[in-house]
Amino acid sequence: MSIFAAAAAETFQPSDWLFENVWIVPAIMAASFLYILFFGKTFPGKDRVHYVGLAAITVALGFSLATAFMWVTQYEDNQSHGSEASSAFVGEGIVSTVEADEKEESSGASGQGCLAEDNRVGSLQAAGEDEYALGTGLLTDSGELAVEAGEDGKGEGHIKAKSVVRCLEWFSTGSFGGDTAQGSDNLTFNIGTIADGQSIMMLVVVTFISFLVHLYSTEYVKGDRRYVHYYAFLSLFTASMLFMVLSSSTLQLIVGWELVGVCSFGLIGHWWEEKPNSDAALKAFLTNRVGDIGLLVGMIVLFFGAGQTFDIETINYLAVHDGLSQTTMTVAALCLMTAVMSKSGQFILHTWLPDAMAGPTPVSALIHAATMVVAGVYMIGRLYPVFWFGLTIPGSSLNALAFVGALTVVGGGALAFVQNDVKKVLAYSTVSQLGYMVLALGVGAWTAGMFHLFTHAFFKACLFLGAGALSHACHHSFDMKAEMGGLRKRMPVTFATFMVGTLALVGVFPFAGFWSKDEILVGTGGFPSTNANGNYTLLLIMGLIGAAMTAGYMTRVIWLVFFGEYRGHVDPHDPPAVMKYPLIALAGLSVITGFLNFPSDWFGGLGTRYGLKFEQWVEPGGGSTFPVIGHGDSNLALAVIASLVGIGSAAFVWNYYQKLYAKDPNATEVTDGLRSRNKAAAGGYALLENKYYLDHLYEGAIADGTKGPLARAAYWFNQNVLDEIVNTAGRTSTVLGRFIYRFIDQGAIDGSVNLSGRGASESGGLLRKVQSGRIRQYASLMFGAATVLAAVFIVAI
């Protein structure tokens, strides 16, 4: 294989090696899963099975951090040799084209590549469509790192590193007719990895949170009856999540998507002996199935739209370069949006996420806050051109994605106010924050969305693990009103970390959420002079309302859990070290991760040098496989307004509870408040308490409405069609059996048997006359026969 020979001839590059071999990370976790699954039960000391998982995730984390470090280093190196690289870039482009020609000659080698890049580039060059066609001659030359002068909207000329794609042929089949991007009758389906800013960012997030959750769980689920099962699922989840984020084809993405869904199902129903838990698991699974239909349909539309290929880079390339029609992209994006709505808990399909809190708390932190639920957001980011161009309706200022996101921000946030379960508040908060991410992606603030994903993973995991610590201390209850209160002094470490997480979530300067949320608000472009892509004032207002709500319900949680009087009946303490240190680590990250992407016009020279690093590292260069999008300018006034809105809301809630405390130290709600006096308020509360009646709609109207007629139809079908078929078959076979008995069995078969018997008997009767026993008769017969034979001889010869 010429490619490998060339690679071997080059000097060994650790960064290239890491980027090409990121598959090792999920592979380690998959191996860990298999080991725990098969040998976990017989592991020396079943309670120590977590060593396997911990060892695997530690190695995976190390690998991910090394990869991320290499990625960042490579970017920074390119910047410092900026002009050099720019001039070398032209040369590189030519080299790439030459290699493309070579590859065309050796058709065997081109089969190895992930894309049919030769054909695609060839056609584009012929059409002379775009000057980028030369520069991106080989998007993915099997790991060759082409450097491209990225245009990031502001025209600052950052040199973005190309994504490194490595693929293996999975299977190949005949095409479905028509023109294919691969240009032949055979379709090759590849399985492979993409290493770029986005996937490496997810790699770090997933392995890091997973590592902390593995550690935390050693104490949290200690002595559980399904300890081995739990760790096996944690490993499988980590493996499949990594598999999904690294996938280079949409087919692979679907596989990973479903695998994380299965793990989510298995872990929500971890304690399935209790009916609500198994119900919650089923609900999560079934709600996700609804979205998965959209996912499948959307991916199939893209498959045919992009000339029968599942390759993500090809699809993106075609979407950017008018290779996909507007209709195709719109249809695909809308279908995929259903999948995003179910997996990432967007409004109206979010109902499973709060119920998913039935699972163990570390699982909620890992799966239902930090990683799996952002799969939808990740997919939007991955197929961004499709969503970006597909959902942009010309002449309209309404972006469907952004609208769904904004609705989720407000709708989810409002529900968080009426929950008494601390985990459910956090779950609705997650719904709301996921809304922010989708909103950001919808309005074109890609980096803001991804950055919010990144920071949210840390502070929300911190909050969930904190809630786990609370439950661990308070008799396995999450009820803020009945079992908690006044825990500030009893659990100081938990309080401090929870507080940091809350501040980050609310978006208080300088915690992580402040930076990411501010960027999203800037990205809506609703505020004057932010120069973002669009001009969505409504979305900005909804975002601000969401920020106010976040501050409000989190203040409520803080007050109910940590202030007032203790209402439980056990003696809560801070958790042991293995649970404490993950909390502290996450709290620390909740403070500092925000600085990865602070605006470049803040803090003077510091901002120019170190600002917007996350954007530079993670966001792909626009032009080839990513749309050219604008970036809003940060605005101090907007940041101040957002902070004031949050602080005002928090102060209002705080005041409410302080007054209540002054009246009755044990009260958790006002008994004669607005609700008892105002009908509209009572109605609104009932609406929220019943979660907008969505569950009633799904279960009562849709499920019950379907299952009654469906059951009747099935019964009718059973009675009239299936039974009829069976009966007819039975009757027919009876008649047939009688016929066969009478004519075939009795007549033909028995007759022939009898005939042969009689024949033998009668022929024997005839022949016995010859056997007289008289020797001379025999002799005379012999001589007579001999004479006849002799006569025949003589006459014949």
Binding site: Q771, G773, I775, R776, A779, F783
Partner: protein, 99 residues
Amino acid sequence: MYLTQYLLLAAVLFCIGVYGVLTRRNGVLVLMSIELILNAVNINMVAFGTYNADVGGQVFALFIIAVAAAEVGVGLAIVLLIYRNRRSIDVSDASLMRG
């Protein structure tokens, strides 16, 4: 020397033999008649062998004599056994094999 004379002699001997086999009831005489038939064949063998200047005829004749001796031995043993069982050597009586 004519071949015909020997062939005629052999034919006559053969016919006497056949006649003996078919008509005699005495087992020993049946065996003797079979000897006659065999010797008729022997005469044919030797006559044709000499006629064709081929020694194979005589070799075969010797071979037949040896086989005939064995055959008579077996035959006489059977006759002897029949006699012991039935006190008679009439072959017509030995009809137990009839079907």
